[in-house]
Subunit: 255 residues, 5 copies
């Protein structure tokens, strides 16, 4: 039940690729629509982990990079209070080679209770099979006005810790100081910044990541900012410099 397998120098960069279910193929182009491309990128880019839904893991995962199996999910076609239920058993995730399960909790949703309960069960099953449990905590629903407000992000982080997550994936608040509080709220649960949509420039993105690291984050889970990049391997190298080697944005950009 350790996150160690996903870390180098106590830092980790996870390649997220669950957008096909969450957003649909509109996030993709001719190249990155193909999970084979992503699997290659994960290996060549020396990512510390790759995030797949069960269907991709079954058909494309080749065990070169540690796997986080996302065990719940939903389409964005549905309106109303969000809920995503388990679609992959923990046992099956383990058989597919996963070293961790990922689960999204929409904190603040009218269906929050369903997800907190389900994560509770999944977390125990994962730990029994020596897998880590990583929580994507996304405050959402009518009650949430701004999901990157510092107090909301800190609450998300804490929710993950309290619920037993070994690591939480949360959005960046926008500045180091307020994100520090979120990291502190997460306690011993490791914090991974959510990459989010493609940033206007690479500097913008790396600056955010640098901020998260300076605030105490363990790393990030990044998708679109890598595989929508014109040169994903170069972005991967830059991130590695920044995160694993703990360099500045400038040094990383020169990678």
């Amino acid at each position: 039940m350790s996150m160690e397998v996903f870390l180098s120098n106590k830092r980790g960069i996870l390649l997220a690729y669950d957008q096909g279910l969450e957003h649909g193929p509109t996030d993709f182009d001719e190249r990155n629509v193909d999970p084979t491309f992503i699997m290659e990128l994960a290996a060549a880019g020396r990512f510390n982990g790759v995030v797949f839904q069960k269907g991709l893991a079954e058909k494309y995962y080749d065990r070169r990079v540690p796997l986080i199996l996302k065990v719940n999910g939903k389409t964005n076609l549905v309106k109303g209070e969000p809920v995503a239920r388990q679609i992959c058993s923990v046992k099956y995730a383990s058989e597919l080679g996963a070293k961790a399960v990922g689960y999204t909790i929409y904190a603040g949703s009218a269906h929050e209770d369903i997800m907190l309960e389900e994560f509770g069960r999944i977390q125990e099953e994962a730990h029994e099979l020596k897998m880590a449990a990583i929580a994507w905590i996304y405050p959402r629903g009518e009650a949430i006005k701004n999901d990157t407000a510092p107090e909301i992000v800190a609450y998300a982080a804490r929710t993950g810790l309290e619920a037993g997550a070994d690591a939480v994936k949360i959005k960046y608040t926008g500045d180091v100081e307020s994100f520090k509080w979120a990291v502190k709220s997460a306690g011993k649960a490791k914090v991974f910044m959510s990459g989010g949509p493609k940033a206007p420039t690479e500097v913008d993105f790396l600056t955010q990541v640098r901020g998260a690291l300076d605030a105490g984050a363990t790393g990030l889970a990044v998708g679109r900012n890598v595989w929508q990049s014109s040169d994903p391997l170069r972005t991967a190298r830059a991130l590695r410099k920044l995160v694993i080697e703990n360099r500045s944005v400038d040094e990383a950009l020169r990678a």
Copy 2:
């Protein structure tokens, strides 16, 4: 858990006959209301598979053609956000001789979560019993304005891949180019075009099928366009020419 049993020359034509539950007998006439007629047609027309609900499989299936057992379903009498739950266990489907289970997911429905979860469980059970899992992905519900819009069809295809379907049944978008994107989005999940309601002419229908094949589809699941045809066996021969022998619409029509 292979689709091979449903393919000839890597292509497949499935005879769909789950309309009795989904639409009621209004789709039928004196001849095709009788499942015996369909079973004969499936064999004589050399279909690669036949799709039945459990009741038909129990009383009419004779194992001459590989069986896809549709394990969920609903009537169209119900209004509101669509949901269809499991009505046949995977174990029972296997005992009835099925080589695959079929399951409809109404992506975009307010009850999408119930179906994604249920399919997730069914898919794992099917694979354990060496059966394929085929997903009918039908975007529906108040949130869906046009269920053949290219981005919606591509999202449907991708949803099936991500959820672990071995094959997806989706609607045709209307043109080759946009359907290519749907096929690409489905990745290694095989794409079967949904036959849909009876087309105005046979040429219209075959042209659609040709388009789907040119876009990369593995085949189609067809019901009304065959068994509502004045000469179902002739239509079956034409489809075989078109799909399995990969001929043109003109050549197929001369079959």
Copy 3:
């Protein structure tokens, strides 16, 4: 899993007595309120089966007539979209001596999915214990304007066949021709006409039954038209003549 035990000359008359739960005692008088009276009537009237809820089977059933245990039910005090869930396990039904389970599906109700799913599970359990599964298919709910419209009755019949019912209990459409289509839609599932409320005269009732038989029905499930009759045994004899001996209404009335 055969209906044979409920048939004479391939025809069957089932004595329905689940009205106590479905309608309340308003259907009863001082005599027929007593299940002992019904048990005697079932035996003396040579019915092919008797329909009880679990409570009546436990306290009154004496095994002289084959038992159909109704395993779901509801009161008519509840308003809104109808739903009736399982209240007797299949195993317990078998221990009580039942040769079949009966289950009501309110097709078209907003809760249809719950009942289709539950019937699916019950049907498999029943077949494992060598019991038949009989579906009462009653289209109901806001979406249903007229539950004896021919296309609605045919849809009900077909729903039963598709869902795996060995027999369906449906309402009479009012004329032979349209009921023929319902019977055809039911395929190999045997059709039992629902007796319904007390008909104005015995001739009216027997004429309906004759119509159903002429349309291909296997028989009927009758309650109020027998046990609300001034001479239930005479009505039973008339029905036997009509149904089992396949006589005319006139001949039956002379019984």
Copy 4:
């Protein structure tokens, strides 16, 4: 699964004390708020049974009087259509020494289906463990205008019989004649009149009980009219004369 243990001369008086959960302590005073007082009263008053929720049975029940464990319950703080789910397992009830389980069904509630289903399961479990199943049938919800109307009370009684209750607890209709019909509707299920709120005078209360007995009731389940009495033991003696010794109200009052 017999009610015998709760009867003397085929009659029974059950001391009901589930009001703490159902109504809150407003029903209590300094004396009767204490379950020890009730346990003593049950023994000294020679009641045929005592009704407790699991918490009281665990901490106060001493096995001097047969126990009916109430296995569902709710507070009256909740508004809307009533529902009470199982809060004590049948197995645990048995371990606590219960000879019967009690379960409330709010017939007519929009959630009636949940309770009928749950009672169905509980009743079978109870019978397997040789315990009786007693149903409190309370018609309630928006659809119910008057829960002591004769046809409503008779429906309640019948619902209990059909669902497999060994005994039903129902409200008194107000007169012997109409209650007779309710008792008849309950068939072999024994009828216990519900004591209800404290009657204006003891004569009023005993007259009601006498009416219920004359109508065929087996006895009553009484709470407030005993333990809110100024002299509970005297009331208990009066009830014993009336119910068990089948005396008149006058004779009972002289007890």
Copy 5:
């Protein structure tokens, strides 16, 4: 299943720290946001128990102080009728070293039935594993106007007793006399006053606690009034004097 482990001189002070999930980190400062600080405080302050969610127990609990594992919870981001479902299994709580489980029931909520049922199951599992079951009973929802009204607090206490709680955590009513009734209503279930938000002054807080003890409470569960205190250990000492040594507020303040 005894509360003994949490008591000294039949009194107990529990250090509550489930606010991270229930309220979010807004309750915390740089020091008390860290569960290590709380664990140290629990030991150094000689608390009789410490209350953690599973995530904190897994990562911070060191067994120096008896553990109450809170097995359900929710964020306060969700609006509408409150519900909190189980997020930690009783078995897992036991493995983490807990001597009791804690569970919140929102009495009066439209979802009360879910929580009463879940607590019922959890309570039995806890007793089987020799753990106590402590109920946080918080009347809440649209139907509750004032959750410290004497009759509401007494109802909360009684609900816990009836449902089988070994101890209840309830709010203080504000005066000794009315709280006495609540304590009486709780019977043999031990009453712990809920500490609530930080009181204006320490005297205010200790006076409330003294009132609860004088009314018969076993002790209190306190969080913010201790760990938001400028000198938590001093507050702990004062509480110990007051509660365990049963001194006056003045004596306690001199601690």
